[in-house]
Symmetry: none
Subunit: 199 residues, 4 copies
Amino acid sequence: MSKAPNPARRRESSRRAILAATAELCSQFGYGRLTIEAIAARAGVSKKTIYRWWPSKGAVALDLLDETATVAAAPPDTGDLAADLHSMLTEIIGMLTPPHNAPGPGVIAEALHDPDLARELRERLVRPRIATFRQRLRRAQDAGQLHPDADLDVALDLLYGPLYHRLALHLGMPDPAYLHSLIAHVLRALTPPTSSAPH
Amino acid sequence: MSKAPNPARRRESSRRAILAATAELCSQFGYGRLTIEAIAARAGVSKKTIYRWWPSKGAVALDLLDETATVAAAPPDTGDLAADLHSMLTEIIGMLTPPHNAPGPGVIAEALHDPDLARELRERLVRPRIATFRQRLRRAQDAGQLHPDADLDVALDLLYGPLYHRLALHLGMPDPAYLHSLIAHVLRALTPPTSSAPH
Amino acid sequence: MSKAPNPARRRESSRRAILAATAELCSQFGYGRLTIEAIAARAGVSKKTIYRWWPSKGAVALDLLDETATVAAAPPDTGDLAADLHSMLTEIIGMLTPPHNAPGPGVIAEALHDPDLARELRERLVRPRIATFRQRLRRAQDAGQLHPDADLDVALDLLYGPLYHRLALHLGMPDPAYLHSLIAHVLRALTPPTSSAPH
Amino acid sequence: MSKAPNPARRRESSRRAILAATAELCSQFGYGRLTIEAIAARAGVSKKTIYRWWPSKGAVALDLLDETATVAAAPPDTGDLAADLHSMLTEIIGMLTPPHNAPGPGVIAEALHDPDLARELRERLVRPRIATFRQRLRRAQDAGQLHPDADLDVALDLLYGPLYHRLALHLGMPDPAYLHSLIAHVLRALTPPTSSAPH
DNA sequence: TTGTAAGCGAGACGGTACGTCCGGTCTTCCG
DNA sequence: CGGAAGACCGGACGTACCGTCTCGCTTACAA
C-alpha cells in the first residue's frame, strides 16, 4: 500500500522551486522538451519529491498555469456585454498564446491523452471561468439583451470553441478585430428576433 | 547532407504493412502507447524503413487517418442547409470519437507540439473539407439563405470550434440533438434579419 | 560536463551479475558475438548501468579476465630457472588458449584499436606478471646463472613475444616441448659464455 | 546455390577504386572506422560489387596491404647475417607502424576473430617472408655461422615474436638500437658455443 | 550483329546493436 | 525522519552498418 504523503509536512520552498524551474525550462526550451529530470535538477530537488506531490509533468505545469493565471474573480460587468465577453476571451487567448513557449498548449495536448489531467484542467482552470461566463450571460438574458430561450451551453461552445479550433490547427489566435466579429455573430444568434423592430 | 530517398523505389507492401500495424496497435493499445519500435516489429519491417519515409509517428498516424477517411468529395447539397452541415460535421465527429482508440485525437495532440505535423494535418485532412464546407455555405449565401455579409470564416470557426473545444476538455462529442441546436444557433447568426418580413 | 558516478553507491550485485553474464555469453558464443545488449539482458541489468561503469565491452571483458586470472603473486622460485619460466609462461598460454572462447584474445584484438583499453590491459594484467618475471630473472642474474650484462627487457620480449606471434597468426600456442626448446634457446642467449668450461 | 562470379568479367577500374578508397579512408579515419558502406560510397561503387569479390572488409584491407607491400623477393645476402636480419625485420616493422593509421594492425586484430582471414594473411603475406627468412638462416647455418642443431622455427618466433608482443600491448615498435640488441641476443642463442676456441 | 547474360551503379530493405534519454522506483545518507 | 542525491531497471529513441535484394544500364561473349 502506498502511503499518502502528509501535506502538512510539505516543504513550501521545494514546491516553489519546482514551479519556478518548470516555468524557466518551459519558456527556455518549450513544453515539449520539459522533463521531470530537468525540473528536478534545475530546482535542486530530488525526482522523488516531484513524484510525491504530482502524478505527471502535466500536473506540475497545470499547477504553474493555475498560479500564473489572473484570478478570474467576479464577472466583469461594464454594462457592455460584447466588451465583457471580449475581455474574458482575451484572458484565455493570453493563456493559449503566451509570450512564447508557455505551458498552456502543452497541458492541453497532454490532457488529450490523460483523462485525469483533463479533469484537473476542467475543474481548476476552466470551471471557474465558465461559471463567470455563464453568470454574465445570464444577467444579460435577465436584462432582455438575449433571447430568453438561448442555450447558454451552446453560447459557451460558440465562443470558446474557435480558440481551441485555431490552436489545434496552428491557425493563430484571433486578433481583436476578428474576435469582435466572432462575438457579434454569436450575439446575433442569441439576440431576440424582435429586437430588430425598435419603433 | 541528407539524401532524400527515391520514392520510385519505395516498396508498397512495406508501406501498407506499416499503416496496417499502426492501425492495429492504435486500436489495441491506444495512440499513447504507440511506438515506432512496435510498429516496425508488428509490420515486420525495419525501423529504418519507417524513418526513411516518415519523420515521426504522428506523420504515420496522419497517413493512416488520411487513407481511412471517407473521401469528402463533392459538397452534399440536399437543399436542406442545416442537414448538410449536420452530415459534414458528423464525419469529423466520427474521426474525433472513433470506435475506440482511433488516432485522430493523438495526431491533434502531437500537432500541438509539432508545427510540421500541424501543417500536414491542415493541408491534407482539413483543407479539402473546409473547401467543401465553404462551397456549400457560399451556395446558400447566393441563394439568399444567408446574410450576404456573413463572414464564412467565422461560420467555420463557430461550427468546427465546439468540436475541438469539447475534445480538448474531454467533454464528449456533441450528440445529434445538441449538434442540431448548435447549427440552429449558428444559422440564426448568419441569417438575414429581414428574411421574415422585409416590408 | 559528464558527472562521474559515485563508486560508493555502486551496487555490487549488479557488478557481479554483469561479469557472470559476460563470462557465460563469451564461453557460449565467443567474444566476437558478445554484445552490451546481450550482457544487459542476461544479467537482468539496464544497459545504462553497464555504460555507467565501463567504457566498452572490452573493458568489461578485461575486468572479467582480471578476476578470473590466477593471482600471480610471488615469483615462483624452485631453484630451477627454466622450470620457473616454463610455469610462468604456461599461465599466460592458458589465458590465450582457454578451454574455449575465452575473452583473452578478444580483449587483445580490441586493444589493438583502443589505446585506453591497451593501457588498462598493460597496467592491470601484464605489469604485475612482468614484475614477477623480471624479479625472478634478476635473482638468477645475481646468482650468476645469467650473463651480468644480459638485457632483461630483451629477455621478456623473447619469451612472451612468440606467444603473441603465434596468437596473431593462428599458429596455435606452443606445446610443452616446443616451449621447453624456446626457453632453452633464450637461456643460452643469456648465459655467461664461460659456463662452457665444465672442468 | 550461389554462383561464383566470373573473374574474367571483373572490372579492374572498380577493383582499383575500392582499394584506393580503402587506403584513403584508412589513413584518414583509421581502420577502426572503416566501413564497407563508406568504401562503396567513396569508390563510387555498389556495395554489392564489394561483397561479390571480398568476404569482409578485412579481406579488402589485406589485398591493399598485399599490393602496398614491398615485394620480398630474394633473400638479401650481404654476408653480414645480423644486418640481413635487421633489414628483413625492419620491413615488417614498417607494415606494423605505418605512417599513421595503416591497415596492418587492423587486419591482424580482425584475423584474431576470423580464421579465414588469418589463413589468407599467413598464406599471402607472411609465408613468403618466412621462406626468405628461413632460407637466409639456413645458408648461415650451412656456413657454420649458426649451431647446426639450432631450431630455425624457434629463431623465427624469437625474432618476429617481439614485434607482435609490442604491437598487442601498444609498447611501440623497437628502435634500431633495441632491434640490434634483440638480434644479437638471438644470434648468441643460435651460435655454436665453440666458435671462440675451436681447437 | 544481335541477343543475352553477366557485371555494375544505385539504393531500399530486414536486421542487429549501438549509445542516449527519460520514466518511475528504490536505497543511502545527510541535516 | 523528510528530503537531496542519484543508482537502478526498463524501454524507446534515432542512427549506423550489416549483408541481401531488386532495379535498369552497360558491356562483352556467343549464336
